[in-house]
Amino acid sequence: MKIVFLDHFGCFASVVLAASYSGVLSPKLVKTKDILNLPHFAEVKNIQPGKLYFLGKDQAGNDYYTLGAGFYSSFIINVVWPDLKKLSEIKGRIVLYDVNSLNSFLLIYFEILSQGRFRKITKYFWALWFIHFKRKTIENATKVDFANHY
């Protein structure tokens, strides 16, 4: 099964969630450094939606990806994706999961307006945001069983 986490740029909450699921990161989120060291977290070159990253595999063999979808994650998941699946011959099971709500909208708007120019600095704010404000939500989110997920 392929599990794709969608958020605005595909390099913030989606990376943290994908890393928690694949076992790269402990869902308890103890240190800022752990988040900052994640592959593709706050990727400097990623300033527009549309990028797909492979994050890793878990022990059950599920592949984890992140995809930037702008503000339209739920639109893609609920409307576009079901129609696209019907039209194409997609092999295997793919689950799309919207994690945009875990991102800070203030930081997202800052990233959009600054075109990601301050990402080397803002990545610390992002890491602190996840550790101090979203730790519980991420812990709970990692309990979702994708076997029963559409």
């Binding site: 392929k2 794709v4 527009q48 939606p49 549309g50 990028k51 797909l52 990806y65 995809l67 930037g68 979808a69 702008g70 339209y72 639109f75 893609i76 409307v79 576009v80 994706w81 129609d83 696209l84 699946k85 039209l87 194409s88 011959e89 997609i90 092999k91 295997g92 793919i94």
Partner: protein, 153 residues
């Protein structure tokens, strides 16, 4: 091959482009208002239809032509779609996404907003049809480019 014409609402520019592609509209003159209004989905889709991929017809060599509305995703729509298709192992080149938004003029934007968003058809429809006729040769040009690039008889 599946050719998907996409614009903001899937109601005007994508429908016009798909209709030209399928020879439902003339290539040598501007269409009349009646011809435009007789097209399926023309000035007919509403907000909840955005994103739905609608089948429009088969062209003369058997390609499937679709239309869709992508809201404000702009050029990222294509990128996201290709990424999702690649993830599913779909063959490269089987899908072609054509963005018709660069050919939309101000009359189409204002008319489309009035007619589709606000529901003022009496005011919006004439404006959007005027805009479509003004931009018509650009759509013809786009279809010629699409046929030259993607459709090999």
């Amino acid at each position: 091959m599946k050719i998907i014409y996409n614009c903001y609402g899937g109601s005007h520019s994508s429908v016009t482009a798909a209709a030209i592609h399928l020879q439902m509209l003339p290539e040598t003159r501007r269409p009349s208002s009646a011809e435009l209004l007789n097209l399926p989905y023309y000035d007919a889709q509403v907000g909840k239809d955005h994103g739905r991929i609608r089948f429009f017809g088969y062209d003369n060599i058997g390609n499937e032509v679709y239309i869709t509305g992508k809201k404000n995703l702009g050029p990222y729509y294509e990128k996201i779609m290709y990424n999702l298709l690649a993830l599913g192992g779909d063959k490269q080149g089987k899908f072609v996404f054509i963005n018709t938004m660069p050919y939309v003029n101000i009359w189409m934007v204002i008319g489309g907003y009035l007619s589709r968003r606000l529901g003022w058809r009496a005011l919006g429809r004439p404006l959007v049809m005027y805009g479509t006729k003004q931009a018509y040769w650009k759509f013809i040009h786009l279809i010629n480019l699409v046929k030259d690039k993607y459709i090999k008889p």
